[in-house]
Symmetry: C2
Subunit: 129 residues, 2 copies
Amino acid sequence: MDLQPLLDAATFNDDGLVAAIAQDDATGDVLMLAYMNRETLQQTLETGVMTYWSRSRQKVWVKGETSGNVQRVKSAYVDCDGDALLFRIEQVGGAACHTGHRSCFYRKVEDGELETVGEPVFDADSVYK
Amino acid sequence: MDLQPLLDAATFNDDGLVAAIAQDDATGDVLMLAYMNRETLQQTLETGVMTYWSRSRQKVWVKGETSGNVQRVKSAYVDCDGDALLFRIEQVGGAACHTGHRSCFYRKVEDGELETVGEPVFDADSVYK
């Protein structure tokens, strides 16, 4: 997929980052929000695999390089002012979150408490050693 | 809905902001990404109406206060590290974007170009005078 127009339309903030939402193309579930810089957005378009900029580790982050749960780009969108991107993706392995949950948004507000939605797909302790 | 646990779990960045994704509860479509500070997150939980912090205008932004297209909170989620929130909402009037489009993500990468997805729901020029 040629994502050059997306690269041109993206507006990077003072830190050189643009927000990127990953949505499960099959279910519509929002899986995670992370950030890309120009380099990792370019890499995403070249490889078709979601590649973020890790703000905590300050390095290129090919999502799933450790767990094997990569995200394959199915389609890509840019919002009205260009500072957010939406990628509909195929989540290999079924889990996006480093905790082993399908979605990073696995904590839901219910009856005044945060409740965990669903069981972890994989055991995080056995994947990240 | 008591959103106090969400307020406690949210991690605000150096600018005092947390990212907030609005997803159409009926269709699953991602409508927009904007930001909240502690005050507007509190206001969102108190009113049940999505209230952002406008970074460009530096003011409280009750989404839809001008167009009438408010967003009613149906459910709320927080991600694993607390720096992103996901709200499933009812989009009154059917359009979230100030351009009149249903979703702010109305530009899709297709065949190497950005193509507009769908027709505007309302005429932006007649709403914002």
